[in-house]
Assembly symmetry: C2
Homo-oligomer: 184 residues x 2
């Protein structure tokens, strides 16, 4: 098993933090994880991305860019990275901000930003809702380990809010799996 | 310019955090950075490592494992990674814990853990002293940007301590460059 996930969006959307939470939680589930991200002028102002590779065996290098799962929170990120998704992969995008032309891969539209604002009164937790959605959808990471990773990595004053966001993301993924239409 | 740094030691020594601080600060210095780390059972209990690649151009992949700079905080990490260092690279090791046989690369012995305990009463800031040492030694990152990265990423109650640790690491690097023998 080797599962390559890319979280993409713009700088400031907390995707690096999101990837660290996923990585730490996945490792506690007994998986090997290689996590990487680009920083710097080349990414500034434009699209930002953080990668998480989860595998049963030890991972030495990222393999060729061929993603099992791509999360896109902005149109620019979607336009930049969508061609890296495997044809049997999963595309998850924030339908509050992004429009996608039909592709062969499974395509999941969730209005993450709008849900964050409607349910938790802030778009700042969009990243946490999205990674909790991914954790549950892929069945790679439990809510229990995700909560622990949040407690380990988030500033104390935001922990309660982020745990609520994680619970919301898990619920959305369960609803999606059960065939419910997800609206804001 | 492409500069590959590996921070190695054991889990719990804060090397991932250290690599994130270096990466964020380097990007603010106008560099492109690719930062990566392994998590999971394969690294648990044994050696842990986090990589920072700093370059003028955008970095797409880690290149073959050939390091310009290797930091080793434990013997196990030194034994595991020392062969990856370029012959004209720099090895920095914690002489509180590690013994190194002579190698061709520039070899810098600093008793980071002992200095942390003697000067700041806790070994928990060994990682911060070491990354500040690297930042100044390589002249890639200023203390100013390192402090900003600490403020952005560290829990509030530890910020003052970590800034002192960074200042100490910078001083040690300046002393080293000026030819002073560094003892605890």
């Amino acid at each position: 098993m080797k599962y390559q996930i890319r979280l993409s969006g713009s700088g400031g959307q907390g995707l690096i933090l999101g990837s660290i939470l996923l990585s730490e939680a996945a490792s506690k589930e007994g998986k090997n994880v290689l996590q990487s991200q680009a920083y710097g002028p080349a990414s500034r102002g434009g699209s930002s991305r953080a990668d998480v590779i989860i595998a049963d065996e030890e991972i030495y290098y990222p393999s060729a860019e061929s993603l099992e799962l791509l999360l896109c929170l902005t149109q620019e990120a979607a336009d930049k990275y969508i061609t890296l998704l495997k044809s049997d992969g999963i595309l998850i995008f924030d339908s509050s901000n992004v429009k996608i032309n039909p592709i062969k891969a499974e395509t999941i539209a969730i209005p993450f930003t709008q849900i964050a604002i409607d349910k938790l009164k802030t778009s700042l937790v969009t990243n946490i809702i999205a990674i909790a959605f991914i954790a549950t959808l892929t069945e790679l990471i439990s809510l229990k380990e995700l909560k622990k990773a949040i407690k380990n990595n988030i500033k104390e004053k935001f922990i309660d809010l982020d745990i609520k966001a994680a619970e919301l993301g898990v619920k959305l993924a369960k609803d999606y799996k059960n065939g419910k239409v997800i609206k804001t």
